[in-house]
């Protein structure tokens, strides 16, 4: 399989003890959900894919993205987008500057500003570019974080319990929004969660990790 995200015989150990092992292919537009209790190494797996695994861990196996081996690529060159349970907007930038930070280089200033404004409008936040992110509601922040990530034009999307801080009604809205945008861009999605509802809404294969 060429397109998509592929984890090939990935095995992560910590201090010599095996934490998890996994071999999965995620096709474009599909979601793979990893479930399991906390401490089982879900976030560690995502760190391996983003290239930010801590020094305590050792990993073997390969990560392939659209046919390229990115196992040893530096984090900034991987084109793997990630959303955490906190929005983690840069607090010192305006909403617009947050989006501009991730927007792929190229185009004139006017074109770039237009792209940012269009992205905001796409999630119902037209005119929010100059706002302080701290003044946004939880749902608004989540939408800005999503668009910031999408403007960097990633080739895969990682979700680290991204909905767990939102309340119930907001949660399903944001979840639908994220999944529909990922589908529209044909992104392979790797979701880790301990929430069964998230897993069901993903409509994809579910892998349960158990403590070893």
């Amino acid at each position: 399989m060429d397109k998509g995200l592929s984890l090939q015989s990935v095995e992560i150990t910590k201090d010599g003890a095996r934490l998890l092992s996994l071999s999965e292919d995620i096709a474009p537009g599909e979601v793979l959900t990893i479930m399991g209790p906390s401490g089982v190494g879900k976030s560690t797996l995502l760190a391996f894919v983003t290239g930010t695994l801590g020094p305590d861990f050792e990993a073997t196996g390969r990560v392939m993205l659209d046919g390229h081996d990115i196992t040893h690529a530096p984090p900034y060159a991987r084109r793997v987008g990630i959303l955490f349970q906190d929005d983690l907007l840069f607090p010192h930038f305006s909403v617009g500057a947050n989006l501009a930070f991730g927007l792929r280089p190229g185009g004139t200033k006017v074109q770039r500003l237009a792209k940012i404004e269009a992205a905001l409008a796409e999630v119902g936040l037209a005119g929010f570019a100059d706002r302080d992110p701290a003044t946004l509601s939880g749902g608004q922040k989540a939408r800005v974080a999503l668009m910031r990530m999408l403007l960097s034009e990633p080739c895969a999307l990682l979700l680290d319990e991204p909905f767990s801080r939102l309340d119930a009604t907001l949660r399903s809205q944001v979840r639908e929004l994220v999944f529909s945008h990922a589908k529209a861009r044909s992104l392979p999605v790797l979701l880790v969660t301990h929430d069964a509802e998230d897993a069901a809404a993903a409509h994809g294969k579910i892998v349960s990790l158990l403590p070893i």
Binding site: T50, P74, Y76, R78, G81, I82, F90, P91, H92, R104
Partner: protein, 564 residues
């Protein structure tokens, strides 16, 4: 790309820059101590310098003073800080104390000592306040209060200045210990606040603040500027005597000074070892005390008196500064009047040229040194983050080493060494010497906030395609603007307060606010001291005010950063 290759080596370079002068200075002390000083045409080895040192009549008393001042100051300051924290941590009182710390801490030692002297001297504010109503004095009594032969005013002055320092260290270490739950448990078991805290939390806290306590101990044993202002004269402390011998026109006196510097070093090492043994003994006694199960019935009295003593100390610093301010604008001021007859700007006018040039020198040195220290600190911390380098506890010892080795033990040697190799004294060497003392403080001030930065933000930025340098400059450093400016302010305060490095390495030719102020001590011109002391305090205090104000202005439209 060049920085990427240089960055991993920065921690090692920093160690060399920091420890190099200390080691070179110690070497430069050992040689002349054994009679080897080619610059003066003397070659050793000989024990003559030590023989001359031991023949000095004042030696025993000077040694005794140094040890007593160091130990008494540290015991009192540590006990006070422990009892205040035991009695009040987690309350609104403690939060107020927390706010008052930074300004108290940034007041230079020399200015605080002058202010303290102005309060307690026979013609000082305290005496004026109660005279003649309570005392019947219409002339200042003939008492030797300041510079008393026992060094008690010096100890008191040091204690009130060290309490804020240990308090800050204590507060920082509390954040790393789960104190709330321990407190809930010992209170449920029926223990009083103070007793319960001392039995359960203090041992944990002490393990964390051990190095800063050693710094206070070594500092108290070897401090020069405070000893010149508040300490006895006949004889002075060993460190002051070393400086006197170093400034003797007779080069041969340097040999004796070097021998005394080695003695000073071994004294500090000896007392530190003695202190370590004392830690064990206190630990044993503490275990026995814990085993008795006493719950602490007099806790309330203890916590109220500890707080009272702490507040009194803070008040002494504040009133001392106020006293400097009044003297700086005083016209005729007879005893026992509480305030001068006239207020005048004449003192300021008279010293305008002198203070301005000293301020310029102080600022050039402080800003240069702090910028270098900041660059090294950020470089070391970023190298640690990018390459997963960990600072071991041995690394922390190295960081504290320049603060533990007494200044009088290696600065004379450094000066002699520079003389021997023909290096010119002057501003640049003074800056290098300041860096040795400024770097550890800047590093300690910035390390915790830098490491506490949420690394997921770095992961997000990298996932958005940002390279490490861009993440550092556009995300991490701007987000840490507040802590960075605070570290800068700490560094400036440390540089502004440096007396001995400026005096010795500058060869007496570099005149900063501190060297000028301390030089005034013997002349006793209170109006001049008031002017210089206030300028010195302002030079240390204003950067702290800016460190608070600047981020608040720059980030006024960024609520997420306002209290971080």
């Amino acid at each position: 790309m060049k920085t990427r290759r240089a960055l991993p080596f920065l921690p090692v370079l920093t160690l060399i820059v920091m420890l190099g002068p200390v080691l070179a200075g110690l070497l430069g002390t050992v040689l002349p101590a054994f009679g080897h000083l080619p610059a003066a045409g003397l070659t050793g080895p000989t024990l003559a310098p030590f023989e001359a040192l031991f023949a000095w009549v004042g030696l025993l008393r000077a040694v005794w003073l140094s040890v007593a001042v160091g130990v008494v100051t540290t015991v009192f300051a540590l006990a006070l800080v422990a009892l205040i924290t035991a009695g009040w941590s987690g309350t609104w009182v403690y939060r107020i104390l927390e706010r008052a710390l930074s300004p108290l801490l940034s007041v230079p030692h020399a200015a605080a000592a002058f202010g303290f002297a102005f309060l307690i001297s026979p013609s000082g504010w305290v005496s004026r306040a109660v005279s003649p109503a309570l005392t019947g004095w219409d002339r200042p009594p003939d008492l030797l209060i300041v510079q008393d032969a026992w060094g008690m005013s010096m100890m008191a002055g040091l204690i009130i200045k060290e309490v804020p320092f240990l308090m800050l260290i204590m507060m920082a270490s509390l954040g790393q210990i789960d104190t709330k739950r321990s407190a809930a448990i010992f209170q449920a078991l029926g223990y009083g606040r103070v007793t319960g805290w001392l039995k359960t939390i203090f041992p944990l806290v002490y393990a964390q603040i051990r190095l800063p306590v050693y710094v206070v101990l070594a500092y108290g044993m070897s401090v020069v500027d405070v000893a010149v202002i508040l300490g006895p004269n006949t004889p002075p402390t060993l460190s002051v005597q070393i400086v006197k011998w170093m400034s003797d026109p007779d080069l041969a006196m340097r040999l004796q000074a070097a021998a005394a510097a080695l003695l000073q070093l071994s004294l500090v090492l000896g007392v530190l070892m003695f202190w370590r043994v004392g830690e064990r003994v206190v630990g044993q006694l503490g275990a026995m005390w814990i085993a008795t199960g006493s719950l602490g019935k007099s806790d309330t009295i203890v916590r109220v008196s500890a707080l009272g003593a702490g507040v009194l100390g803070a008040l002494m610093i504040a009133l001392g500064l106020a006293s400097l301010a009044v003297w700086s604008v005083a016209g005729y001021w007879g005893f026992p009047d509480f305030l001068p007859d006239q207020f005048t700007m004449r003192n300021w006018d008279r010293h305008a040229v002198g203070t301005m040039s000293a301020l310029g020198e102080t600022a050039i040195i402080a800003l240069t040194v702090v910028l270098v220290a900041l660059a090294l600190t950020v470089g070391c911390l970023e190298a640690e983050y990018r390459y997963d380098l960990r600072v071991s506890s041995r690394g922390m010892w190295l960081l504290y080493l320049p603060l533990l080795v007494p200044q009088t033990a290696f600065l004379p040697g450094l000066q002699t060494l520079m003389l021997t190799v023909g290096a010119d004294v002057g501003r640049a060497p003074v800056m290098f010497a300041h860096l040795v003392f400024v770097f550890p403080y800047v590093f300690l001030a910035l390390a915790d906030p830098f490491r506490a930065w949420d690394s997921r933000i770095g992961t997000i930025a990298a996932a958005l395609g940002a390279r490490p340098d861009r993440i550092l400059w556009q995300v991490r450093l701007p987000m840490l603007l507040g802590p960075i400016l605070t570290a800068v302010a700490v560094g400036i305060a440390v540089s502004v307060g440096q007396y001995l490095p400026t005096l010795l390495i500058g060869g007496g030719r570099i005149e900063t606010l501190t060297t000028e102020a301390v030089a005034l001590a013997s002349a006793g011109d209170r109006r001049a001291i008031g002017v210089y002391g206030l300028m010195q305090t302002a030079a240390a205090l204003i950067p702290f005010a800016l460190a608070l104000a600047v981020p608040a202005i720059i980030w006024r439209k960024r609520r997420g950063l306002r209290h971080g």
